[in-house]
């Protein structure tokens, strides 16, 4: 009995050990092996705000490739689509709805993504524009040809707004003490609205993601900007009246100044 109890204790111990070990291989390793740090994780939008910069740095195992993704949470966007009316006049021909489209999507990697990552992982982790095209739903665009065309236009529209970017040259890496240190500095566009943004670094080996680590960047309006946008959204009547009164006052004020100045004529 004692021996069987001892065996049962041993087998339980082994099972728990294996479970702990398998857990450590993924999440534990992410915090212990792959690290991430955003130097500017709280961006305040004040009166003189004109965008910012965000640096992402950390360390990983040597010999791994890295992908850094900065993204806003999923949203939906309704955009006007231009087309030809009467065969030759370009004008708005309707609207397209882009469902599950993040408002901001930056993807940076140490090498071209399709060279270092399998299609399966690209799709699973929504890494790269081809994976994003499968993730975003476009309505009404039923045919593949239409979807491809309008997704391409969507990327061009977002890149022109500086809210989407993709590159394989921005991450710098160095090897120190058998560890790979990485560093990336990116412009933070003023077009990015207030909100919480997720920064994820993926370590890639043999075309598979082996680790990931995350941090967040919070963008928030403060001071007079917060007060004015709050009033415009929640107290439109008062906001409108103040805007009109100030415009009337400015018009009369300048008129009075010119009247005095014009007295000499």
């Amino acid at each position: 009995m004692k021996i069987s109890n001892f065996k049962s204790q041993i087998s339980k111990f082994i099972i728990v050990g294996i479970m702990l070990l398998s857990l450590m291989t993924y999440s534990g390793a992410a915090s212990a092996e792959l690290t991430i740090n955003a130097n500017h994780d709280y961006i305040t939008i004040d009166f003189f705000y004109n965008g910012s910069t965000v640096s992402v740095s950390g360390s990983s195992d040597t010999g791994t490739d890295l992908i850094i993704k900065i993204t806003a949470s999923d949203g939906h966007e309704i955009l006007k689509q231009k087309g030809k009316a009467a065969g030759f006049l370009w004008m708005n021909m309707g609207t397209l709805k882009f469902e599950h489209a993040p408002n901001l999507y930056f993807i940076h990697s140490t090498k071209k993504i399709d060279k270092i990552l399998s299609k399966e992982d690209m799709n699973n982790y929504v890494i790269g524009y081809p994976a994003l095209s499968k993730y975003i739903e476009i309505t009404p665009a039923s045919k593949d040809e239409e979807r491809t065309k309008w997704f391409g236009e969507f990327i061009r529209y977002k890149e022109a707004s500086k809210l989407y970017a993709s590159s394989s040259e921005q991450i710098n890496t160095t090897n120190e003490n058998n560890r790979q240190k990485y560093y990336m500095k990116t412009d933070w566009p003023y077009q990015a609205p207030p909100g919480e943004y997720l920064v994820t670094v993926y370590a890639v080996k043999d075309k598979k993601i082996i680790e990931k680590a995350e941090t967040k960047v919070l963008v928030e309006q403060v001071g007079i900007i917060k007060m004015l946008s709050g009033m415009a959204a929640n107290n439109g009547a008062v906001y409108g009246i103040i805007s009109i009164v100030i415009a009337l006052g400015a018009g009369f004020g300048v008129g009075m100044v010119f009247r005095k100045g014009g007295g000499a004529h």
């Binding site: 003189f48 705000y49 004109n50 006007k80 077009q191 946008s229 439109g236 906001y239 018009g251």
Partner: protein
């Protein structure tokens, strides 16, 4: 120096809106137009969302037209009675215009009708003003209009408009104000560039009184539009409006001073050229392939 715009959610170098305001305010003081047909597309080009650009432009026109009306009123160039009659018509016309837009949207071809109305109205008005001002066909026109004048004189509510030096039935400015109101609502503009030719060619008012009176009625239209935009759509960007009005209020005063030094015919020719240039620009936009095939949708 850059400032952040809390409603447009964008950042802008302050020199740009102040400079734009100055130029458009100058046109406003010179010709009695609000300048929305110039300012709104320029703001969109600077990255301001279309809906915010149009709403904020209305707010700055309140300032520019106050400044301009005040400058013209000082020298006796505002016909308040005529202005009020045009306003009544414009208000009623605006209500019809909004309904027309709703129907067109339901039919699914609103954009086509709006763009075509824009090109046709601007093209016709610009060409007519230009040719008329160049040839000065005053005598021939008076002969032609004698029949029309008789008809207008036979209408009830004949009213003397002292400042303009004309007598018309009060029905005339209300009807034509209404016509401009309908078109302005359909085209989404203040309608100054349509109202000015109506006052010059149909109501036969002197050009300098036309400018002051047009600004007076634009002021009230834009107060209404600013309030409605702020209250219902939350699209007025206060900081952008202040930057624009810093330039436009000064520009309107300078324009009014310049305007007094130019003859009516000269003013008409310059306005006609500006209207025609804008028409050509719109025709190019319609026919050349745009760089982006997607744009922000209006409204919320």
């Amino acid at each position: 120096m850059y400032l952040y715009l809390p409603v447009a959610l964008t950042s802008i170098n302050i020199i740009i809106p102040i400079g734009l305001g100055l130029v458009v305010g100058l046109l406003s003081g010179l010709f009695g137009v609000g300048g929305g047909f110039l300012m709104t597309p320029l703001l969109i080009m600077l990255g301001i969302p279309a809906t915010v650009a149009a709403a904020t432009d209305s707010n700055q026109i309140v300032a520019a037209s106050t400044s301009g009306t005040y400058a013209h009123w000082k020298v006796g160039n505002v016909d308040f009675k005529m202005g009020v009659h045009l306003l009544i018509g414009g208000f009623i016309g605006g209500l019809f215009g909004v309904q027309a837009i709703k129907i067109l949207k339901e039919m699914g071809n609103a954009d086509f009708v709006i763009k075509m109305t824009y090109v046709l109205m601007l093209g016709i008005v610009g060409t007519y003003m230009f040719i008329e001002s160049i040839h000065k066909v005053e005598e021939a026109k008076q002969e032609k209009e004698s029949g029309v004048a008789k008809l207008l004189r036979s209408l009830p509510l004949q009213t003397r408009y002292e400042k303009s030096g004309v007598t018309h039935s009060a029905v005339i400015p209300v009807v034509f104000g209404g016509f401009v109101g309908i078109l302005a609502a359909i085209m989404g503009v203040g309608g100054g560039f349509l109202m000015v030719p109506v006052m010059v060619y149909i109501l036969r008012m002197p050009m300098h009184v036309v400018v002051g009176t047009s600004l007076f009625q634009i002021l009230f239209n834009c107060i209404e539009v600013t309030f409605l935009q702020a209250y219902t759509n939350h699209n007025v960007d206060f900081i952008l409006a202040v930057l624009l009005l810093l330039g436009s209020t000064v520009g309107a005063q300078v324009g009014a001073v310049f305007g007094r030094k130019l003859r009516g015919e000269q003013l008409k020719i310059i306005l006609a050229v500006i209207v025609l240039v804008v028409t050509v620009k719109i025709i190019f936009e319609l026919t050349l392939t745009p760089s982006l095939l997607l744009s922000q949708a209006g409204g919320h």
